[in-house]
């Protein structure tokens, strides 16, 4: 529930597919305060509610080894009070006003949000502007929240083997990246969590939580001019800061398959696979998303149909092309059925990949994948929070939310030849990392 780490990708949301563009085109009003705070407003008067979403361009990518997890820990610290608001009081105020609030941390950004009855917009602006400048960081609150985050790590990572943020997912990141900060999970290493100091938090706050490193999205039953008047009133006097240091680390090319075994108590084996891929702004990203769709999305997708329906060797197959600001990874997970080994699963999966490299995908199959992207997009647009979150995500990670329109255009125009090219280029065994869950029970047997 609370303060969760970015769970699945905030994938692609607002696109303008031909034929439906008019129906889903949003009137986004753009503003900027003198201190550099960017504000995007989407008016929607269908219900008297509003979502207030504040992004900071700081995620686990902006951390250093030895202090991993500080972005997420700091997200928790953002609820520990200011000069005017006591610890956890932020939640109480929002909930008393009929709202909900929460936050999440990703690899590239951190996001805080409030959903409120629309007449209460000012309370969100008041509280968020306050904690952008007056956070009350103390050793006492750091110590208690450190323990909470360590419990979260035990719960979400240590004791959940195959979850999206589970132990195997962490291993895959650790082995896929050797230099780039995507090497570690967002939650951070347990030992690092123990060594984050108040001084570290104060530095993190000063560098990353400045108006010029932030984007606010307001979506709902509000008046743009009145909303901007409030934004100016509360944020206008907050000074901007020097831009945060850029993350310049470049992951060296992978020149051979990496493999690791992971031994834990479990009933049946599983394995995870990753491939290095470009970032979300890269034109090839559209081909990769469609490739993932062709392999994993829906019962008629290739890997699903073969491994679950036809050969009944796997209980679950899943793939996600992760939307990252910098070159990232394509993450796949397969849980085997009883009587099958991970070698069986890998063989089947790689054979399906080889088919995509050697044969052109049929137009019909490609169209199906495009339609799936389109329908996922439309059904994901039904709440203010989703619309605002997606627009903000593209704004923060690519510098311009209009890039998602370019992305849609790219998806629409992908050809079977481009699908094959992307498969040949990225689904290369030399670009692959594999982590295998070896059930301890099996070893004892």
């Amino acid at each position: 529930m609370i303060r969760y780490i970015l769970s699945t990708l905030i994938l692609i949301s607002i696109f303008l597919f031909a034929g439906i563009s008019a129906a889903i085109e949003f009137d986004v009003k753009e503003f900027a305060l003198e201190n550099g705070l960017k504000v995007l407003i989407l008016e929607d008067h269908s219900a008297p509610v509003v979502s207030y979403i504040q992004y900071y361009h700081a995620g686990s990518k902006n951390e250093q080894l030895g202090r991993t997890g500080i972005s997420h820990l700091f997200e928790h610290m953002f609820f520990k009070g200011t000069k005017m608001v006591g610890p956890e009081e932020h939640d109480v105020i929002i909930q008393s006003n009929g709202g909900i609030d929460n936050a999440w941390t990703g690899w590239d950004c951190t996001c805080f949000y409030e959903n409120l009855p629309s007449d209460k917009l000012e309370v969100a602006i008041r509280l968020e502007s306050d904690r952008q400048q007056n956070l009350n960081l103390t050793n006492e609150t750091l110590e208690s929240e450190r323990e909470v985050v360590k419990e979260e790590r035990r719960w979400r990572t240590d004791n959940d083997i195959t979850g999206f943020y589970g132990a195997i997912a962490e291993q895959i990141q650790n082995f896929t990246f050797v230099a780039h900060p995507y090497h570690w999970e967002i939650i951070g290493f347990m030992n690092d969590l123990d060594h984050i100091t108040l001084e570290d938090c104060l530095i993190h706050y000063r560098i990353y939580y400045a108006p010029n490193n932030s984007v606010v999205i307001i979506a709902g039953d509000i008046n743009s001019a009145e909303a901007m008047r409030l934004m100016q009133k509360y944020y206008g006097s907050i000074p901007s800061q020097e831009p945060p240091p850029a993350v310049t680390v470049v992951e060296p090319p992978q020149e051979g398959e990496r493999r690791a075994d992971f031994h834990r108590a479990a009933q049946l084996p599983a394995f995870a696979v990753s491939y290095h891929i470009p970032n979300m702004s890269n034109p090839e990203f559209a081909s990769l998303e469609l490739l993932n769709n062709i392999l994993f999305e829906g019962r008629s997708s290739r890997a699903y149909k073969r491994m679950i329906y036809d050969e009944q060797m796997a209980q679950m197959v899943n793939g996600e092309v992760l939307t990252c600001e910098q070159p990232g990874w394509w993450y796949m997970m397969v849980r085997m059925q009883e009587g099958f080994t991970t070698a069986d699963g890998e063989k089947a999966l790689y054979e399906e990949m080889e088919r995509l490299k050697s044969e052109l995908v049929l137009e019909k199959e490609l169209l199906k994948a495009k339609n799936k992207v389109e329908s996922d997009l439309i059904f994901g647009l039904q709440t203010n929070e989703n619309r605002g979150t997606d627009i903000g995500y593209w704004q923060v990670l690519t510098g311009d939310y209009h890039n998602l329109y370019n992305y849609l255009e790219n998806v629409k125009n992908v050809t079977p030849e481009q699908i094959r090219e992307a498969a040949v280029k990225y689904l290369d065994s030399k670009n692959r990392t594999v982590v295998t869950l070896v059930p301890l029970q099996s070893e004892e047997d």
Binding site: P48, E88, Q95, G98, P117, S118, E122, W155, G298, Q337
Partner: protein, 479 residues
């Protein structure tokens, strides 16, 4: 200095202070808000077809989509004890196994080719289906829905696949400590054989045949047991005509569906322990039987839940998580259902060495709400959160139309929610304490811990909460 002058000076100072006080420093509780725009509750039209199907229709042209949900009056509580899993598999294979007209694979292709979805399931107390499609594909998805609900083929291969999946689920069910805890806690509360808690075993899966699925479907899937809610980009007349076209000639059945059985619960204090050797954290559950939504003090319990353990700002959150740093999640709810009692449950996951400390703290908070009335701030939090968030009950069309379908099924008045809102407005701190005294039994709690006892801060037997029973979760072998 005259009093008048002093007053002027103070007034000037106050004005200066207001001018100099930055906006963020103003008291957040003193903000004045504009009038909330009027909440227009969308009107859902209810139509009953001649064959008994009840429709709930809501036009919404904001996006070019059609959505629907179906509720069928049946559930896994109707399956025989030696065939647990039958209803669930039936619900799955209705969709995957195809129909008399199309194979399951063909349906996959047809739906996925246009980015649409039709899914079915059968849960504990209802059969369900969901439909999502671009509105241009309305005919396609309604015809597929009709075929699936009326003429499922129950293909043997897909039945076997579903059974393989269930066997795999059984073999993995002890991997995740929180899965173990929530499963076993329901068995502790409702009883291991109860229809509200029982679960599949290899033996029950192995006895399920295609004939069982056919019989189950034949018994309960009749139009008079079916409700369909539809919302999206359509005209009312068009969608009703289409439903009549695809469902109008479905013949009524003659089966009267029995209600779920009564729950027989005896309060007692007991500690249950499940060994999980590979974890560094304990999953803790405390509680007893819960209540019904129709209970007289349901509104009082809404406020009680918010104050005790309903998320941020609640007593459990403030103490177990924020003050003590014992857990990432600390919650407590007295849950209520429409047609069988819910569960009063409290949950926390804490590092092994603070297991008993967390249990003691949770019990302290449960006892506390029976003696310490909510403060003014807590009442504000517990009531206003519910009242001010009322508009969120109507912010999507799906919520509005599905709620109406559910209320209709359970015979609840359409304005139940509005009436409850009025009741919550009148809840007092004394009423919260009385509701806690009436409904919560801290002296008679079941406590379940999943973890490694050797790492706990003290033996569970020293908690003074009754005998400690170790639960064996060994999975009965497949014969």
């Amino acid at each position: 200095m005259s009093i008048k002058k002093t007053g002027i000076i103070i007034g000037c100072l106050l004005m200066m202070a207001m001018i100099l006080t930055p906006a963020w420093a103003q008291d957040v509780t003193k903000l004045s808000y504009p009038q909330l725009n009027k909440l227009e509750i969308p009107k859902v039209e209810k139509i009953t077809l001649k064959n008994g199907i009840r429709l709930y229709i809501l036009e919404d042209g904001s996006l070019p989509i059609l959505e629907a949900s179906v509720r069928v009056n049946c559930g896994s509580y109707l399956e025989p004890a030696d065939k647990v899993g039958l209803a669930e598999i039936c619900g799955e294979v209705m969709r995957t196994g195809g129909t008399s007209k199309w194979s399951g694979d063909k349906i996959d292709e047809m739906l996925e080719g246009v980015g649409a979805s039709v899914e079915t399931s059968i849960g504990m107390s209802s059969g369900n289906a969901s439909v999502n499609a671009l509105s241009e594909h309305t005919d396609l998805v309604l015809e597929i829905l009709s075929e699936i609900l009326r003429r499922p083929a129950f293909n043997e291969d897909k039945i076997e696949l579903a059974k393989v999946g269930r066997r795999s689920d059984i073999s993995r069910r002890n991997d995740d400590p929180s899965d173990i805890g929530s499963r076993e806690f329901r068995k502790i509360i409702y009883g291991p054989e109860s229809v509200f808690a029982r679960h599949t075993e290899y033996a029950t899966i192995n006895t399920i045949t295609r004939d069982d699925l056919v019989d189950f479907h034949k018994k309960y899937y009749h139009p008079e047991n079916v409700q369909i809610a539809l919302w999206g980009d359509f005209k009312r007349k068009d969608i009703v005509d289409k439903i009549k076209n695809y469902f109008g000639d479905w013949q009524r059945g003659d089966m009267k569906v029995p209600p779920p059985p009564k729950v027989d619960y005896k309060f007692e204090s007991k500690v249950h322990y499940i060994f999980k050797g590979d974890v560094n954290q304990s999953n803790i559950y405390l509680g007893h039987i819960g209540g019904l939504i129709a209970d007289d003090d349901y509104a009082d319990r809404i406020v009680m839940n918010n104050v005790l353990g309903g998320g941020f700002g609640s007593r459990l959150f403030n103490t177990v998580r924020s003050k003590e740093g014992l857990a990432y999640t600390a919650i407590g709810f007295y849950t209520s259902n429409f047609n069988y009692p819910g569960v009063f449950y409290n949950y926390a996951a804490t590092k092994s060495k603070s297991t008993c400390k967390a249990i003691i703290e949770i019990i302290k908070q449960i006892k506390g709400i029976q003696t310490d009335p909510p403060t003014v701030d807590e009442m504000h939090f517990g009531k206003d959160g519910y009242l001010n968030s009322f508009v969120f009950n109507f912010d999507t069309k799906a919520k509005v139309v599905n709620r109406m379908m559910n209320y209709d099924f359970y015979g609840m008045p359409e304005d139940f929610l509005q009436k409850e809102k009025e009741k919550v407005e009148g809840v007092t701190p004394e009423a919260v304490v009385k509701a806690a005294q009436r409904n919560l039994h801290p002296e008679n709690l079941h406590v379940l811990v999943v973890g490694r006892q050797e790492d706990f801060d003290m033996p569970l037997s020293e908690l003074g909460l009754g005998p400690v029973e170790t639960i064996d979760i060994t999975i009965p072998a497949e014969k």
